[in-house]
Amino acid sequence: MIYVKYFASLRDRLGRAEDQLDTHSDLTVAGVWAALWPDKPLPPNTLAAVNMEYAELTQSVRDGDEVAFFPPVTGG
């Protein structure tokens, strides 16, 4: 199982805060998105993290990983 989280404006646009993806194929971060949202291209500037570390869209994801998608950050 892959645990997926969405934050901030992206969560609001998608209308959900998390997903679970039950897959046994080898996926990249971009592949996780495509599997969950086949009709919705990843919005430009979206950032991704795997297990709470920033990740490229080409990074591999393993079973049990937590993948997060979120818009540009605006703290401080």
Partner: protein, 146 residues
């Protein structure tokens, strides 16, 4: 080095005073230079009055990322200590958002590290602001570069 998220309003100077008291015990006579930054909520942004703000974060990743920032600063400059406190949740105008403090023997390291931490935090730490204006609420789309 300490990093904290606070769901309730905090007083940056009081926090600094408490932290400094511990430092005076641990490192008496060593901290020649302290550089501090306090960011607070303004009541005006991008041409519109702002009544309130919600600061969202990514529990777990945000704390970890702030910790990585202070560790990166410690590798680049000879720091004696560092402190980041950042608000999350619902804020009102004038509320402190972030406190960054850096202690060093000399001013150049303290200034540079404090600035570095703020720029890293602003550009990469996972926080998101939603502002409440007269027209409803809006997500802030990006931070201004330094």
């Amino acid at each position: 080095m300490k990093v904290e998220l606070r769901p309730r309003p905090f007083d940056p100077l009081l926090e600094l005073g408490c932290y400094q008291a511990g430092l005076d015990e641990r490192l008496p006579g060593q901290c020649g230079a302290t550089a501090i930054f306090i960011g607070a909520m303004r009541d005006f942004n991008e041409g519109e009055a702002v009544r309130g703000m919600t600061l969202e974060h990514y529990p777990g990743m945000t704390e970890r990322y702030l910790q990585q920032i202070v560790e990166a600063a410690s590798r680049q400059w000879p720091l004696l200590d560092g402190l980041i406190i950042h608000r999350v949740g619902e804020l009102q105008p004038n509320d402190p958002i972030v406190l960054v403090a850096v202690w060093s023997e000399h001013r150049a390291a303290a200034f540079a590290a404090c600035r570095f931490i703020m720029e890293e935090l602003k550009s990469k730490a996972p926080f998101w602001k939603r502002e409440d204006t007269a027209d409803g609420s809006r997500w802030v789309e990006h931070n201004t570069p330094a």
